[in-house]
Symmetry: C2
Subunit: 461 residues, 2 copies
């Protein structure tokens, strides 16, 4: 992506063209539930038919089907917010093949052997909006993008330290020292591959949705185990936490119009054209009205962490670029997340104002070194879409994990049972720890990934 591209794409001269009516050239992306749920309940091709709020089924893989690392999974569909469950999930083994340089002078890439070279594992949650299509495409695609990106740098990943040149040729004798001084580690190549894979997947989704005349977007939360490390990449408002006996550690942070206010306001400052005169980029405690004109009111602009007062002018009465608090916060009155995949066609209702320039597909990546962690018997990573975290805090989830696991050591399916229990805790039933009235009506999907005796210190060849 170049600056020119950005300008051509989002800043056409003259009035904005009307959004192209979708001209489907491909068949729509079919709705489905994750493959690993096959045989676990209602058929995967259709939405759940009867859905009384108090009788939505919690689904998890059938007993006997095991997910990578014996991870647990469970999901529940929303309380009639949408026809389909807009969450999607994927997991599996990640097989990285080795590509080797040819020995010729012209150095073409040749795949000399196609068998597995490095293997890892992959768990992913996608929370869709505006329809299920983007989340389904992401669940179908992201792992392939990641595999491709990892294969492109695998030569660098297997070295103790990434070489300056991927060919391994050393052009300058002090190249290893330059790499050392920059502090570049092999894990930085995995982080780079995750960043590239999210962007590649976003482009694929854009093309596929355009071709099939569909719309929509999704968040993406991915955990990848590779060579003794667990990478958690997040773009959106899902969340992953590490739960140990004496520790609860966030492994991701949420990207919403509130948490990314300064980045979003900054872009509107640089390209005011993106707001088409319809929105104000400034933040106020509430939407201003005529009576506020001429008054000095609290406000915040892109360069401010603190607050100040400004004299209200007419342009301040426009609808705010970011409006509402907490769960209600919306970007351009439309979207509750500021990072994710898809949304290429999304516009503010009845306008040509596009959301996409304000959205990032690049994830934030955190790394858990499993060797250093020395995971104990009941250490787990809990990954879930926002439906869980809207109702349960990290500490509440940790308490539920710690109270459930010790009593269920014999059940091989216990991590899925834990995931189901976590979801039931959001439904206001059972002896749930949530406060009266705090019930999730959203789609909720949960992975519970046990860490003990997993992914440590071995790089399989």
């Amino acid at each position: 992506m170049s600056a020119d591209w950005f300008r051509r794409r989002f800043l056409p001269r003259g009035p904005l063209p009307a959004p192209r009516p979708p001209r489907p050239r491909a068949s729509p992306v079919p709705y489905r539930r994750p493959r690993f749920l096959r045989g676990s309940g209602s058929s995967s091709g259709t939405a759940d038919a009867s859905r009384r709020p108090d009788a939505r089924p919690v689904r998890s893989p059938v007993r006997g089907r095991s997910l990578p690392w014996n991870a647990g999974y469970a999901e529940i569909i929303n309380a009639e917010k949408s026809e389909f469950n807009e969450d999607q999930a994927a997991c599996g083994k990640l097989c990285i093949r080795r590509c080797e340089f040819g020995v010729e002078e012209d150095q073409e890439w040749l795949t000399l052997c196609s068998e597995e070279f490095l293997t890892g594992h992959y768990w992913a949650l996608f929370d869709g909006h505006g329809g299920p299509a983007a989340a389904i495409l992401a669940a179908n695609t992201l792992h392939s993008c990641l595999r491709r990106q990892l294969e492109a740098v695998v030569e660098g990943m297997v070295a103790t330290q990434p070489p300056m040149h991927l060919s391994g040729h050393c052009i300058c004798p002090s190249d290893p020292q330059f790499v050392e001084e920059k502090g570049i580690r092999t894990e930085d190549l995995v982080i780079g591959a995750l960043e590239s894979a999210f962007q590649e997947c976003d482009e694929v989704i854009g093309r596929e949705l355009e071709a099939s005349g569909q719309v929509g977007g999704c968040t993406a939360l991915v955990a990848v185990s590779l060579k003794g490390k667990l990478y958690v990449a997040n773009a959106g408002d899902s969340r992953a936490i590490l739960v140990r006996r004496d520790e609860v550690r966030p492994l991701s942070s949420e990207f919403t119009p509130e948490t990314e206010r300064q980045r979003i306001q900054q872009l509107a400052f640089i390209y005011p054209e993106l707001l088409a005169g319809e929105f104000t980029r400034l933040e106020f405690p509430r939407r201003l009205k005529g009576d506020d004109l001429g008054q000095k009111v609290l406000f915040r602009d892109h360069h401010m962490s603190g607050w100040s007062y400004k004299c209200v002018e007419k342009s301040d009465l426009k609808y705010p670029l970011i409006h509402g608090q907490g769960r209600q916060a919306r970007l351009l009155g439309t979207l509750a997340v500021s990072r994710g995949l898809g949304d290429h066609q999304l516009r503010v209702l009845d306008t040509n104002i596009q959301l996409k320039p304000f959205l990032l597909s690049v994830p934030q990546v955190t790394v858990l070194n499993m060797d250093q962690l020395e995971p104990q018997e009941e250490d787990v990573v809990v990954m879930a879409t926002d439906g869980l975290w809207d109702v349960l805090s990290n500490e509440q989830v940790a308490r539920l994990v710690r109270s459930f696991l010790p009593g269920n050591r014999e059940d091989p399916h216990r991590f899925s049972e834990l995931a189901k229990m976590l979801i039931r805790s959001t439904q206001g039933t059972d002896d749930s720890p949530i406060q009266e009235g705090q019930v999730s009506y959203d789609d909720v999907s949960v992975f519970v990934i046990p860490l003990h005796h997993q992914g440590q210190g071995h790089s399989s060849h």
Copy 2:
């Protein structure tokens, strides 16, 4: 500042105009040392005359002159790097007057009483580059800008919670609730005032330097005590830390081309014109050369935290936007800091490429709640320019503080003695804790601010 202003200022159409030759209309800013050093040694109007590297004097206020909170101060000039000491310092009482609204319908601001309303204290360090003028102007000006900005919002600061309207009129009955929901606290108004004051001061410096035909820039590190809180605002590579018996806590972080790489690369991505075809915005482990052409080498772009490989093209051989590691890292081959005041005229040597668009004057602000902290006898804040931190780590400084203070309880001047001792520890003399060869040849300035029995729980009226 508006986007249009930015474009007009930094992106003229056609070839860039040659920098205007300075036409001095005002007399140059006279060189001086901080006022509170008067009587402490060499005269303040000239540079220190004889300066053998091993015989540079460490200066501190004369015994008997006390700084706010009985803070200590010491400084040393660089080892012949420049004619003048380019560091500057300022401290004093901060007197905020109350401005009250008139009762008239037209609501003009009236200063009804001009006596002190709120008082605080102020300590500041400025590390100049390209001449001493910007640092001297900042030392002369920033506290006035801050007082003005605080007076503009003082009505909001003295309330339990900042009112939506500065007039105190309540236009919408639920305004206090909106402010509450946004989590806006009175300290956010001080943070906002500090942010605005830095920007205002930057504009003043720009005007004054242009008028006097001088050049230069400086970093700014400011501590402000107000209503039981200590605010630390930083723009540049100076540093403040809190040292307690059992704790060392950073109160600022450094802003350099390395720490702000993504912001700087992002701007070059948005406005490639700023590089005038002379620089590449991409980061590589070292500067590339002809032999690298066509090779796949490690690189990083603005959206990447991780690293990846790219095939080297000719444009990648240009000089990098950010080059060098650690202390050697430079922005556009020129500047070692990415935030600060001044540098309005600074250009890359022999080109028209401007540095200013890449620099921020806005500080990062951290807040220390003195009531919660319950400072003990020997808790201090150490503020110093980079000359100290290049040679001593936070932990080494903390050890020196803890070893010095208990043995010197009777000396009323002990905090300046401590500041002097810290500086001597950077000179490779005494029984210094630094490693062989690690000696500071830079200007070094240090404030040591004792926290015990200071600034707690009282808002003076």
